[in-house]
């Protein structure tokens, strides 16, 4: 080692190197990212059921940059009330309890999910029906005894009120069904789909005097909950005696793996789950986007909602796997569009 110690190593290359790196990144960012200048920005969050639709709309819509995230209907409404989002997605109506969480008066929310006055945060949510969701009850491909079920039978299978242990104990199936154990693979309690399914089959669901609880809460181990539709799909595909349910949008992509059951809400008006049959099929629910009041003309949200409710936006809905408004009620879209000034 030379006796002369260089106290200042040459560090020009270092500064230059890291500088170039950073600049390169920023430039690359600028080039690829493209600066669109004045395009308005919107934030959309909420229901995971609405999420695929929201992504499709955000991708196709050019007049605003929309970032979309999930987290659930309650999160969507809560975020709107807290001014954390421009558009709150929900697969259920707003409830008094949503107002309560931000310190508001529960009486300000109608049973129809509309607000009659502002929450303490100053936000007055306004409800837009944007599409319909169809819920499909699913069984194994080899199941030939339960290709159609009514609400009484679903009640017997899915609730804790004297539930059927074997398939042949389900009323009305009788001797055609095998003496084999029923296994349920379906969404867990955190899911909005779970809530909707039981709201349909259990009378007075959610009230103090509701008729039964779900089989998941009976603790007999027959109901295997899962947060992932993949799991439900695979389990039912692999088990001949399994039954479950999930959104039609997911079934649509997997018709080769499982079969959907025809459903009757009375005794024998069985209806096939499909997009075109939405008017007759009993398990269909509206999907909502909530905004703060009715956005004025010229507002980015107004433009966006016009697109969503208009022919272009609605044309995407069936492709994603949901039901467009015209199939349910041809006046639904036009009525809402007129409120937006279109």
């Amino acid at each position: 080692m030379p006796p002369v110690i260089a106290l200042k190593p040459n560090r020009n290359w270092l500064i230059a190197g890291s500088g170039v790196l950073v600049i390169a990144m920023v430039v690359a960012a600028g080039c690829i990212g493209g600066d669109d200048g004045d395009t308005p920005k919107l934030v959309q969050t909420g229901s995971s059921t609405v999420l695929p639709l929201a992504i499709a709309w955000a991708a196709e819509y050019d007049d605003a940059e929309i970032t979309v995230s999930g987290g659930g209907s309650s999160h969507g409404i809560n975020a709107l009330l807290n001014k954390e989002t421009d558009l709150g997605d929900a697969s259920r109506l707003m409830k008094g309890s949503d107002y309560e969480k931000v310190g508001g008066d529960t009486g300000l929310v109608t049973s129809d999910g509309q607000a009659t006055g502002p929450a303490p945060t100053g936000v007055t949510p306004y409800k837009w029906v944007v599409a319909y969701d169809v819920l499909a009850t699913i069984v194994n491909k080899d199941n030939d005894w339960a290709e159609k079920l009514n609400y009484t039978q679903l009640y017997k299978i899915f609730t804790d009120d004297d539930p059927a242990k074997y398939w042949d104990e389900v009323p009305g199936l009788g001797s055609t069904a095998p003496h084999e154990k029923i296994e349920i693979y379906a969404p867990d309690e955190a899911s909005g789909t779970y809530d909707y399914f039981f709201e349909e089959i259990i009378p007075k669901w959610g009230k103090d005097d509701m008729h039964a609880d779900t089989r998941l809460n009976s603790g007999d181990g027959v109901y295997h909950p899962s947060a992932d539709d993949n799991v439900i799909l695979n389990a039912i595909r692999d088990n001949k005696y399994a039954i479950g349910y999930f959104g039609f949008a997911y079934y649509k992509d997997n018709t080769d793996k499982v079969q959907a059951v025809k459903i009757a809400d009375e005794d024998d008006n069985y209806e096939e789950p499909s997009l075109s049959n939405v008017k007759n099929y009993p398990m269909a629910r509206p999907l909502y986007i909530y905004t703060d009041g009715i956005p004025e003309e010229g507002d980015a949200r107004n433009e966006y909602l016009r697109y969503v409710l208009g022919p272009e936006g609605q044309a995407l809905v069936p492709e994603v796997g949901y039901v467009d408004l015209d199939l349910v009620d041809p006046t639904l879209a036009s009525g809402q569009l007129s409120k937006l000034g279109a």
Partner: protein
């Protein structure tokens, strides 16, 4: 400093005063920066305690049930908040991980330390460390889609999500921790112990197994503890592969929900905010935080002792003495180990006193066969790790290579599977990283300088140093909760790029402090002494003589830390979005990032899988480029170094 040209060469009273003032200002600044750790700690404690308090203020929540209940049904009609199912999930994951990673890690460390020739060692160590550089989301993906089907082939009763697949990949994830710390501990065993053992006739394997391992046992124990802490705090592997349905059982083939998975579920699942189910995340996080804190503390103590050699004991107070007695009965005393080792060597010697002629004694042959076997076994441990790494990389490459195209990387994303693009995610990740750099580096480097160059060893500095050590062990999902509470809500930054990068900065700060301190320590003390001896002030010494020589090391450490930041999913799980059409163009914009995109796509229908793999490839490519940069900088600076 704008003092004018001629003043720089001469010392006038004026410059002296100016530099004296600025010296004080700089040191004050460094001191303030070093206190950032205190604020971060306060932020964590505030978040967890406030959330936990909210949770327990719901009347359906009871402390006793929370701690000892066996039912975790947070969103049911009759919510139950018994934590034992979450604990059992965490125990299974951590326990299983250690059962696999412990032996493999110790074996691999033994091979590296005792058998591998220098060249092989310098090649293998970075390979093992590469395992630590792969983001956890990639491990989770690999567990679910590659290990999962294998397990279901072998055990048909295994469910889609199960503990075993998580445990298997997690083992390789914690392996680098176990290997590097155990290896350090074994390397630290004095050479004379090995020589004594060999001289007395023990074989190399007997020496390694009966002398080196026992002598390094406390270090090995520490490495195992750190591995456990990592496994307990890991979020993405368990969220993706182990499951999100809590059940109180110990079946490795079934789905379980560890604590971190529940916290993540409150970010991604349909759990309504403002309900006990959502607030429960904070209480669970508090338990998780305390648990990892405790384990890290114990492990940290042991590692500290190894680094210092046998601890010189101060005279402890009466109470402390009692506590130490209890602790010593649990942890083996380091000072005893050497005596024990020597007596062990003598025992080996006694049992094999007469060394017989070659070929005559079967026992000797058996001893040699055992030795060869042992050495091959420990080599095998390393081979397994390397094979796993290669298989993981190959698998992802095979699946993701096909979807990489110009449009996929730079196009405007559509929503159909045929139109997917990760341009906004790439840009989101890069911006996130640059902002994290801006927030984390100045404070971290200042902290390191303050502690290493300026501060004296006082109670306060020891306190903060310990705090920074503790911060490094906080599970990433807990940092995510802190970011949500402090930046998104309290500072009202919303789910913005700014909030995301501040959260990541919290996570990176302790890492950059530690690596910067190491870079500073590498500068010889004589430089400082020479500078001070010539009359330079403390800050002048640092600025002109220490810092320039430490910068390459700091840059290397920072790049490595940032490459970790870009792969992190859990801290930004609460903040990042799922879809954006364009790159963010302001710090208050929402953003998508690469790890979040991988996470979302891996939960979609099968058609999305190759795109998730393609995204993983891009992420790994970015990480590798950054690591290569770090290595080049380190190499070049070492070459230029003339001391």
């Amino acid at each position: 400093m704008n003092t004018g040209g001629y003043l720089r060469g001469r010392r006038s009273p004026l410059t002296k005063r100016v530099s004296g003032l600025s010296e004080r200002a700089v040191i004050t600044f460094l001191f303030l920066a070093s206190s950032a750790a205190v604020f971060i700690t306060i932020a964590i404690i505030y978040t967890l305690v406030e959330g936990t308090f909210n949770f327990f203020s719901f009347e359906e929540v009871k402390l006793f049930n929370f701690l000892f209940g066996t039912g975790w049904v947070p969103s049911g009609r009759d919510p139950e908040f018994g934590m034992l199912p979450l604990i059992s999930g965490t125990l299974m994951v951590a326990g299983g991980t250690i059962v696999i990673a412990g032996p493999i890690g110790i074996g691999a460390a033994l091979f590296l330390s005792e058998y591998a020739p220098f060249k092989l060692r310098t090649f293998l160590k970075p390979v093992v460390e590469l395992l630590a550089g792969i983001p956890s989301i990639v491990y989770g993906f690999f567990a679910l889609f590659t290990i999962g089907p294998l397990i279901r082939d072998i055990f048909p009763e295994a469910t889609y999500f199960n503990v075993l697949q998580g445990v298997i990949v997690m083992s390789f994830m914690v392996l680098p921790i176990i290997v590097s710390i155990s290896d350090d501990a074994m390397k630290a065993v004095p050479r004379y112990l090995r020589e004594a053992s060999l001289a007395l006739g023990a074989t190399k394997w007997e020496t390694s197994f009966k002398v080196v391992i026992p002598a390094a046992s406390s270090g090995i124990a520490a490495s195992i503890l750190l591995g456990i802490a990592r496994a307990i705090g890991e979020t993405m592997v368990v969220t993706l592969a182990v499951g999100s349905v809590a059940g109180f059982h110990f079946n490795f083939l079934k789905e379980a929900q560890p604590m971190t998975s529940y916290i993540a579920q409150t970010a991604t699942g349909d759990i309504p905010p403002g309900t006990p189910a959502a607030e429960a995340a904070f209480a669970v996080a508090l338990v998780l935080f305390l648990l990892t804190f405790l384990i890290n503390r114990i492990a940290g103590r042991i590692v500290f002792r190894i680094k210092k050699g046998s601890m010189a004991k101060r005279e402890p107070s009466f109470l402390k003495k009692k506590a130490l007695e209890i602790k010593d009965s649990i942890l083996k005393k380091d000072t005893m180990i050497e005596e024990e080792t020597v007596s062990r060597v003598i025992r080996i010697d006694r049992s094999k006193r007469s060394i017989p002629e070659k070929g005559q004694d079967r026992r000797l042959r058996i001893r040699h066969i055992k030795g060869t076997l042992g050495a091959s076994l420990s080599a095998l441990c390393l081979v397994i790790a390397v094979i796993f790494l290669i298989y993981l990389l190959y698998d992802v490459f095979k699946g993701g290579y096909g979807v990489i195209s110009w449009d996929f990387l730079t196009g405007e994303p559509g929503w159909r599977v045929s139109e997917l693009s990760i341009m906004p995610a790439i840009m989101g990740s890069i911006y996130l990283m640059l902002l994290t750099l801006v927030f984390a580096v100045p404070v971290s480097v200042a902290t390191a300088i303050y502690f290493n160059e300026i501060a004296r060893d006082t109670f306060y500095t020891r306190f903060i140093k310990r705090m920074i050590q503790n911060l490094a062990g906080v599970p990433s999902i807990v940092i995510g909760l802190v970011g949500l509470t402090i930046f998104v809500r309290l500072f009202d930054l919303g789910t913005s790029l700014l909030a995301g990068s501040l959260t990541l900065a919290l996570m990176m700060m302790p890492i950059i402090v530690v690596s910067s301190e190491e870079a500073l320590k590498a500068v010889p003390q004589s430089f400082r002494e020479a500078a001070r001896g010539m009359g330079a002030t403390r800050w002048q010494t640092v600025k002109d003589h220490v810092l320039p020589n430490a910068v390459p090391g700091m840059i290397t450490g920072t790049i490595l830390a940032l490459s970790r930041a870009i792969g992190e999913t859990a801290p930004i799980l609460f903040i990042g979005a799922i879809f954006a059409k364009t790159a963010p163009n302001g710090v208050m914009d929402s953003f998508v990032a690469l790890p979040l995109t991988i996470f979302y796509w891996s939960r979609q229908v099968e058609e999305y899988k190759p795109f998730a793999e393609g995204t993983i490839l891009v992420l790994l490519a970015i990480l590798l480029t950054m690591n290569a940069f770090a290595i080049i900088i380190r190499y070049r600076s070492q070459k230029r170094r003339d001391w």
